[in-house]
Amino acid sequence: MRYRRDLEPKASEITPEAIWQDRRAVLKTLAASGALGAAGLAQAASTPTGRVLNAPRNPAYVADEAPNSWDDITTYNNFYEFGTDKSDPARNAGTLRPSPWSVTIGGEVETRGTFALEDLLKPHPVEERVYRLRCVEAWSMVIPWDGFPLADLIKRLKPTSKAKFVAFTTLKDPVQMPGQRSGVLDWPYVEGLRMDEAMHPLAFLATGVYGRALPNQSGAPLRLVVPWKYGFKSAKSIVRIDFVEHAPATTWAVSNPHEYGFFANVNPAVDHPRWSQKTERRIGGGVFAPRIATRPFNGYTEVASLYTGLDLTKWF
């Protein structure tokens, strides 16, 4: 692994499942009666699919905003492993085999080795959290994730005192991930957090969305969710978690260091060189909805104390 030495230092209700099911039933009836056009079929496609997780909601972590539809969440993705267009992952991610899956734990940690995903996840009860997701490209969504706090896994793995950062590595397999046949990024995708960031109660490992097992295009079977940082920090389809002494060289920061930093905290005061970060377009609002103001740390100001004394303009 490569490192960066310079870095050492009230909730809107989600559509209840009964209603999805009901809508599907209504659409089926309509379809049977032949009254359904193309628009109706597009709607029918937005019914969540996949293994049901039955995760109770954790009311302490529910964004006070209406969540995006299953369709928005699963068809508008930045996951270059399956192509660079936002609609590519939904189209191309069928080649990913999220089961069986294993994750390698390495570095400065007591519990090292390669584990079957089920064994790694077994001790962690899954809960639902509704988080805002802000992409560095100035669009955002509200997503009901299922998963568990990253801190719980880290505590169980027992990192040593030398572990200052955690690195997450995405699968590298051009057969399963056809986008990796192009050299558009330096594969495998690597992301990382400082240990105190990783231990923050907001940092989350997701195994599902909308109460279903993660669809491939959303980073199946295991992905990171760091809601106060730009979306690219949240590594998908994780196969390695390494505890390291130095900041890992993260993919986008290596690819274009002037535009993407290691911290990548959502910050309306620090513009991306190519677009303003002051506002964002909330997905799902339609053509004529206005942009909304972007909030520091994506509204999760409880993390601000992690960065006391850090010049966020320099360490963007």
């Binding site: 628009a39 597009a42 660079t84 206005p290 942009r291």
Partner: protein, 212 residues
């Protein structure tokens, strides 16, 4: 009544070219008002991107007419040059308008910051301004009034195309394969012009002694 070839090109050809050039716009408008779900999860960005791409495509088609004229030894192509140029400009204006009015809601501070601080927007904005100048002076009356300066002004179309391709290239985050393709087509069209001019200049003294 039998139409002459020239009348065919005018009375049948022109409406067909108009219809083809307008089709992407009609499709986008239809989706915007009746089937927004077909524009994907982020329809505003889809519309802005599509308008920009069609502006660029039609501009390149317009610039392909002169090479086609020489390659086919037919000046019929030139009948459609102004028409296609104006359609390219129309898409470019709508591209800018969508960004200014629908995306940024006429927020002058944001727009000024974008145009002044972000080179890729500066370049795109300049290209649209050039196309605006060309549109305003595209009439026969303006051609007469401007005389020789008209031609000089309308060489600006090359600058607008450079600006358009550059704007697209810079806008893309990482995957520059599509912008490269557009740049290659533009380079090919310009290369043809250059090569032809060079060959003509070389052979001119031999074939046209009377032009001293």
């Amino acid at each position: 009544m039998v139409l002459s070839r020239d009348r065919w090109l005018r009375w049948v050809g022109k409406p067909v070219v108009h219809a083809l050039a307008a089709a992407p716009l009609a499709l986008l408008a239809g989706r915007t008002f009746w089937h927004p779900e077909l524009l994907g999860a982020n329809p505003v960005t889809t519309i802005i991107d599509q308008l920009g791409l069609w502006a660029l495509r039609l501009l390149l088609v317009t610039l392909a007419l002169t090479p086609l004229r020489y390659l086919t030894h037919s000046s019929a192509w030139l009948l459609y040059r102004r028409l296609l140029g104006l359609w390219a400009a129309t898409y470019a204006f709508l591209h800018l308008l969508m960004y200014v009015v629908v995306d940024q809601r006429l927020d002058i501070r944001v727009l000024l910051e974008d145009v002044l601080k972000r080179p890729w927007i500066t370049v795109g904005f300049a290209a649209v301004l050039i196309l605006l100048a060309l549109t305003v002076t595209s009439t026969r009356g303006m051609m007469r009034r401007l005389g020789r300066r008209w031609q000089t002004l309308h060489y600006g179309v090359y600058l607008a195309a450079v600006g358009g391709v550059w704007h697209y290239w810079w806008q893309v985050k990482k995957d520059i394969r599509a912008p490269i393709a557009y740049a290659a087509v533009f380079a090919l069209l310009m290369g043809y012009r250059g090569a032809r001019r060079w060959l003509k200049a070389r052979s001119a003294p031999a074939t046209a002694p009377g032009r001293i």
